[in-house]
């Protein structure tokens, strides 16, 4: 089932949680609402579920207006952030709950619950109480319970937020495969960009109750529409410079920016991702003057497959983060240690004026 959110606004007292948000979720999509806390992503999810009601705007399912429909009639499966399992019920009865309140015959309930226990790989644990399960298991019980009512849409609020790192990665891959198998329109909320990018077909980045950008993971990552998206997608070097005559300057290195052809200088911000900067020996780029920056290494931290190098450009107080794949770092002609002189070449930079970005 497709979801169409139109111009939804919601305030809590003076706080505007959602500000005229519109969103389309096509049938069968797995969509991530990504944003910092307070960005309105959970509020939007709860409004789609009918657990919260919007001040303005409408929600449609397959073209039918369901804005005023009560949560229990929406046929939405909701997985809560802390799972909200019924503590006094067994795993079996938790999953059966939605069928029991619909007065389904016992034989049907048993068959359905057994099937779901198999689906979420919890066969034989039906008699346990939630308190006797691990976090990952509880998460899957919550999922099975939501799926038991054959929902048309699955909504998940920070589904992996409370799990430790290893279980999180396993569950997320598992959920992706499950989604591919049952193909249900699903929306999940997360503040973890890695989670959003790995799992979702469409990523929606939210901030201050508004949608900043919406698109495929590649699209959003490679073409951030706003400074916020750029910042939020992690680890980025920001340089406050100027733009004039179609060029911005980053530590004196010109970066083309034809969107601003005017002679009058304006403030601009230049964003460079650590992995889009290249390190080389100063001699190797001597003939490419004006495109690379002389700097010294301050710190080197190896973090698995990535080596993070902190540099300071000569004549500047600013620190610059450069990520080098560890494999590449081994082949470099330079010794990565504090004090080494290096040349830094940007492969890609984005300028925000804040008009649309331009990529060199």
């Amino acid at each position: 089932m497709s979801i169409h959110v139109r111009e939804i606004s919601k305030s809590f007292g003076a706080f505007r949680a959602l500000d005229r948000v519109s969103l389309e979720v096509p049938e069968g999509t797995l969509l991530a609402l990504l944003g910092p806390s307070g960005s309105g992503k959970t509020t939007l999810l709860r409004i789609i579920a009918g657990l919260e009601f919007a001040d303005e705007g409408t929600i449609e399912e397959d073209g039918a207006d369901i804005t005023a429909r009560h949560a229990r009639d929406r046929e939405v499966g909701f997985v809560f952030q802390h799972y909200a399992l019924f503590r006094h019920m067994s795993v079996f009865e938790n999953i059966a709950f939605g069928l029991r309140v619909r007065k389904a015959p016992n034989a049907e309930v048993v068959a359905k619950v057994e099937e779901l226990l198999r689906l979420v790989r919890l066969e034989g644990l039906g008699g346990r109480k939630p308190a006797q399960l691990s976090g990952g298991q509880r998460q899957r019980v919550a999922l099975a319970r939501a799926l038991a009512i054959r929902p048309k849409i699955l909504l998940l609020d920070e589904p992996f937020g409370a799990l430790d790192a290893k279980v999180r990665v396993e569950l997320r891959q598992w959920l992706r495969r499950l989604h591919d198998e049952i193909g249900m329109t699903s929306v999940f909320v997360t503040h973890d960009q890695e989670e959003a990018f790995e799992l979702a077909d469409t990523v929606v980045v939210m901030n201050h109750g508004k949608i900043e950008q919406q698109g495929s993971p590649d699209d959003v990552f490679d073409h951030p529409a706003t400074p916020f998206v750029m910042d939020f997608l992690g680890n980025v070097n920001v340089y406050h410079g100027r733009v004039e005559n179609g060029r911005a300057f980053w530590h004196g290195i010109p970066i083309d920016y034809p969107d601003y052809p005017h002679a009058q200088a304006r403030e601009a911000r230049v964003y460079l991702r650590p992995h889009e900067l290249e390190l080389s020996a100063p001699a190797a780029v001597a003939n490419r003057l004006g495109t690379s920056l002389a700097a010294s290494i301050l710190r080197v931290v190896r973090s698995g497959p990535i080596t993070r190098v902190t540099c300071r450009p000569h004549g500047s107080e600013q620190e610059l983060q450069v990520d080098v794949p560890t494999e590449v770092a081994h082949r470099l002609q330079i010794i990565l240690e504090p004090g080494t002189h290096v040349a830094i070449t940007p492969r890609k930079a984005r300028v925000f004026v804040p008009d649309p970005e331009y990529v060199i």
Partner: protein, 300 residues
């Protein structure tokens, strides 16, 4: 760490004095009076004790009245307490904190004042007196007055017990039930009530003990008519005033016995409550070290 044994050793005489003091106070103020009630009640044997209770029709009526008034008051409190606690714990509205403070009024007002207030409202000369006279309903100096007074003084016990428990549990389980298609009553019976059952029982036991023992407010509204509006505590006092000490002590021993039963029930329920709050804590924290099964080969 090194100083710890030294401190303990130094304070040993002090702690001995404190323990002895505490035991002395408890013994003198609680154990000795309670024991003397039972001693006096049974001093002439169980037969005499039973006779004092069963042979006097006024005493019989007082016991019967207490056994009917208290449960009605407790039932009213249970319904009110659950509804009020749910309102306060689940919703934010103007005047909410004022309402919570008002729940406590019966604790801070002297029961005698509460009784007088009820007389001023429901008495023959009271605010609603003419209306009640016209309806031919008798409240003050009658059974309904006793229920009203008892309900008033026990009002905070159930609601006060439930508010913190409901707030700790949070609304998520109820919302989950709604999103799974449960109606309001289904949510209440299947999710809310099982979650608060021990706290509710605790409140009920406390309210019942207080209802059985209430003297001041009931004294004012009852008119203490022997064989009609005397409850057990009123009967104890009346017998005592009439110099019928053995009979008075016999009724008193029933009330004291009830207190002991309450004590045991309270102890058992409080242990369950502690277990439940540990459960809640466990449900919030996620012990992933227990995750042995993982999700191997999840989708075939």
């Amino acid at each position: 760490m090194r100083s710890k044994p030294a401190t303990t050793a130094a304070s040993r005489p002090l702690s001995a004095v404190l323990v002895a003091g505490a035991l002395g106070v408890v013994g003198l103020l609680i154990v000795a009076p309670l024991a003397s009630v039972f001693y006096e009640a049974f001093a002439r044997g169980v037969g005499a004790w039973w006779g004092a209770l069963a042979d006097d029709p006024d005493t019989r009526h007082a016991i019967w009245l207490s056994l009917t008034v208290a449960p009605v008051a407790v039932a009213i409190n249970t319904v009110f307490g659950v509804a009020a606690a749910w309102l306060v714990a689940r919703f934010r509205f103007p005047g909410r904190s004022l309402l919570i403070s008002l729940f406590d009024v019966p604790f801070s007002v002297s029961p005698v004042v509460a009784g007088l207030a009820l007389v001023l409202i429901f008495g023959r000369q009271g605010l609603l007196g003419p209306t009640l006279a016209w309806l031919d309903w008798k409240i003050i100096f009658a059974w309904p007055g006793l229920v009203l007074a008892t309900t008033f003084v026990t009002l905070p016990l159930v609601v006060r017990e439930l508010i913190p428990v409901m707030e700790a549990i949070g609304p998520e389980e109820e919302l989950a039930a709604v999103s799974l298609g449960a109606s309001g009553w289904q949510v209440f019976w299947r999710v809310t009530l099982p979650n608060i059952r021990w706290a509710l029982l605790h409140g009920i036991v406390l309210a019942n003990a207080r209802a059985m023992g209430e003297f001041g407010a009931v004294y004012v509204v009852s008119g203490h008519i022997a064989g009609a509006t005397d409850t057990m505590p009123l009967r104890v006092e009346k017998l005592f005033q009439e110099y019928r000490q053995p009979a008075s002590m016999a009724v008193a021993s029933v009330l004291a016995g009830l207190a002991l039963v309450t004590l045991v029930a309270k102890f058992v329920i409080e242990r369950r409550l502690e277990a439940e709050s540990r459960d809640l804590e466990a449900a919030r924290s996620l012990p992933d070290s227990l995750d042995h099964t993982k999700v191997e080969g999840a989708v075939a």
